[in-house]
Amino acid sequence: MNRTAMIVDDSLFMRKILCAILTENGYTVIAEAASGIEAMKNLHSSHPDLILLDIILPDSSGLDLLTSLITTCPASKVVICSAIGQEQVTKKALELGAMAFIQKPFTPETVTDVLKSLGD
């Protein structure tokens, strides 16, 4: 089954790399967003199966955005992707409904493992 994904990261470099890894794992990346607003805008037109969310974005609190994403798109699985203040922010993100956590810097294998752990 072809699954769809959206990548939210302010770094184009990170988006491109994540896009390549997701594609290798059988995902179709249907949207990329460099900011919280772009991410929410994208959700008007598409509801991806997976959202990779950089928790530190220049324009919004990642946790607020996470809540909005989950509210708008309850069927999407959100995976947090970042490293700053890992323990606290991650914990909070997982409490708020994120499914998993990818720590930067990552290898393609770590990302693949996390994707597999989502169980689909």
């Binding site: 470099f13 990170m14 900011s35 220049p58 324009d59 700053i84």
Partner: protein, 539 residues
């Protein structure tokens, strides 16, 4: 995974991080309490480290990590940013910049950064007295990673960009525009002379001209942030002055726009933002009573697609009630009660752009300052743009400004109306069609027709231009163009539609600048002057 395809992206993003990092250090030295600047500094060091780790550039990772560490301590409040630490961090930026240049040139040589790393690792305010460079003059920090011979010049980065006067750029745009107009002359002459041997060179000139146009416009681009820097402060101060609490959220500030557009839209945006704080946001008490978060939220997003840019300003304040606006407009004599009764909610919202209309019950210091929404709409139209207003009473308002990416060379639809040819900017035209007279109905004094799910109003361009009706038009098919006007669609009947053409818009000077319904002029391939239509003003 082969990372080499991402190298160039790494280089350009790393450079951006490093240049912002230097700026922020300087900024933070000026205002040591700026915790946002500190957070951002931290984020840049952190992002760079993450990117470098992904690319396995270990030396970059090492230095960025130590810089991040030091900033972490400053952030935790262990110490401020003493000048000595700022020096070391800036030294770190220089070293990282050299490493990025080395990566770019594909050089394998590693510079010796051990002293810098020691400094970064060992810094504490007590050690501040330690000089950054001990003993002889610093050698490594001044040199590129590969040691240079005595007669070699250093680096090649410094001349990759130059400063240029904006008037020179404007001149280049004018010359390019004239070239495009002249290409039309030439193409027409070649067509008439049927000179087959000229077609190939003409095709090449066309391609080169498009290349020239794109490059000239690229050179005129500036990031939105050049006008947006003052917005956060402006909103904060205004809100405080009015006893309101606000958050401001800006996205897309890095998106580049034509300098001319930025110049023209800065004040209109400020006006909309002022309105949002003044008329939009409620006080904290009112918000609590309405079950809203204490802080009002104002957002500004810049979004760009291939041909257009959109600036979207929203607030989550009290919104506007179309019925109230209608009452007000009738009271002020702007519209008649009958017109009000016919108005859709969308049209009613656009009333705020009518000259002399102000929604504030009392003219306040802040919004009632001469510049009204009518001036905003006019500025938008001058740029061949559109302004759409949406609002939900109790929930807030949303203003969408949409412009073509460049203002002086655009694609336009050429139509004829009586003795005039006119150009409608393509970004306002939705489609063209032909109507049979049986398609057209008359409803309360207006001509209308069914278009997809809607009923659209049909205006005669002849009438809008005060020209006599076209004789015998009733029988024939009526060419019609459908335009975006504000948030609604409006159709104009014209005598004839010629097709699309790239045109170079020249501004009109007095007395022609007073003409209603036109925003500029251009010269056609046969040397005639063609007016550029302002669909909203013709509506």
């Amino acid at each position: 995974m082969d990372m080499s395809p991402y190298r160039d992206l790494f280089i350009s993003e790393a450079r951006k991080h490093l240049s912002t990092f230097s700026e922020l250090i300087v900024q933070l030295e000026d205002s040591p309490d700026d915790s946002a600047a500190l957070d951002e500094l931290f984020r840049h060091a952190h992002s760079l480290k993450g990117m470098a780790a992904t690319m396995s550039y270990e030396q970059v990772v090492g230095i960025a990590h130590l810089m991040e560490d030091q900033l972490g301590r400053v952030r935790k409040g262990d110490y401020g940013l003493p000048p000595a630490l700022a020096d070391i961090l800036l030294e770190g930026v220089d070293a990282l910049s050299r490493m990025v240049s080395a990566i770019e040139s594909g050089s394998d040589s590693h510079e010796d950064s051990s002293r810098l790393m020691e400094q970064l690792e060992a810094f504490s305010p007590q050690s501040e007295a330690l000089p950054l460079f001990q003993g002889d003059l610093p050698e490594a920090p001044l040199l590129e990673s590969a040691p240079l011979g005595p007669r070699q010049f250093q680096g090649k980065d410094s001349f990759q960009s130059i400063r240029i006067k904006t008037e020179v750029l404007d001149h280049l745009v004018n010359i390019t525009g004239e070239l495009i107009t002249n290409r039309h002359f030439l193409a027409e002459a070649i067509r008439q002379a049927d000179a087959a041997e000229c077609r190939q060179p003409l095709q090449q000139i066309t391609t080169l001209l498009h290349g020239l146009r794109d490059e000239v416009f690229k050179a005129r681009m500036l990031p939105f942030t050049v006008i947006a820097e003052r917005f956060p402060r402006l909103i904060r101060d205004l809100a405080r002055q009015l006893g309101k609490e606000s958050h401001f959220h800006l996205s897309g500030k890095e998106i580049e726009l034509d300098r001319g557009i930025l110049e023209e839209i800065a004040e209109p945006i400020v006006h909309i933002l002022r309105n949002a704080v003044d008329h939009g946001l409620e006080t904290a008490d009112e918000r609590r009573a309405a079950g809203k978060p204490r802080n009002g939220l104002i957002t500004l997003a810049v979004i760009r697609d291939k041909e257009h840019v959109e600036i979207i300003i929203t607030d989550d304040g009290c919104g506007m009630d179309p019925e109230q606006l209608k009452l007000k407009a009738v009271e002020k004599g702007v519209i008649s009660p009958e017109q009000a009764a016919r108005m859709s909610p969308h049209e009613a919202l656009n009333l705020i752009c009518t000259p002399g209309f102000s929604t504030a019950t009392a003219v306040s210091d802040i919004s009632g300052r001469g510049v009204g929404m009518d001036a905003v709409r006019e500025a938008v139209h001058t740029l061949s743009g559109t302004l759409a207003i949406q609002s939900q009473p109790g929930q807030g308002s949303r203003f969408v400004l949409r412009f073509p990416l460049t203002i002086s060379i655009i694609n336009a639809l050429i139509v004829r109306c009586g003795p005039f040819d006119m150009a409608f900017p393509l970004n306002v035209v939705t489609r063209t069609m032909e109507l049979k007279s049986s398609d057209i109905r008359e409803e309360s004094g207006c001509l209308t027709f069914r278009y997809e799910e809607d009923t659209l109003q049909l205006r005669s361009l002849r009438q809008a231009l005060h020209l006599p009706p076209l004789a015998g038009a009733e029988a024939a098919l009526q060419p019609v163009i459908i335009c975006h006007v504000g948030t609604t669609l409006l159709a104009f009947s014209v005598d004839r539609i010629f097709g699309q053409q790239e045109i170079f818009i020249r501004p009109l000077r007095a007395p022609l600048s007073h003409l209603q319904g036109v925003s500029g002029a251009t010269v056609t391939s046969d040397g005639r002057v063609l007016f550029v239509a302002d669909a909203a003003a013709l509506a």
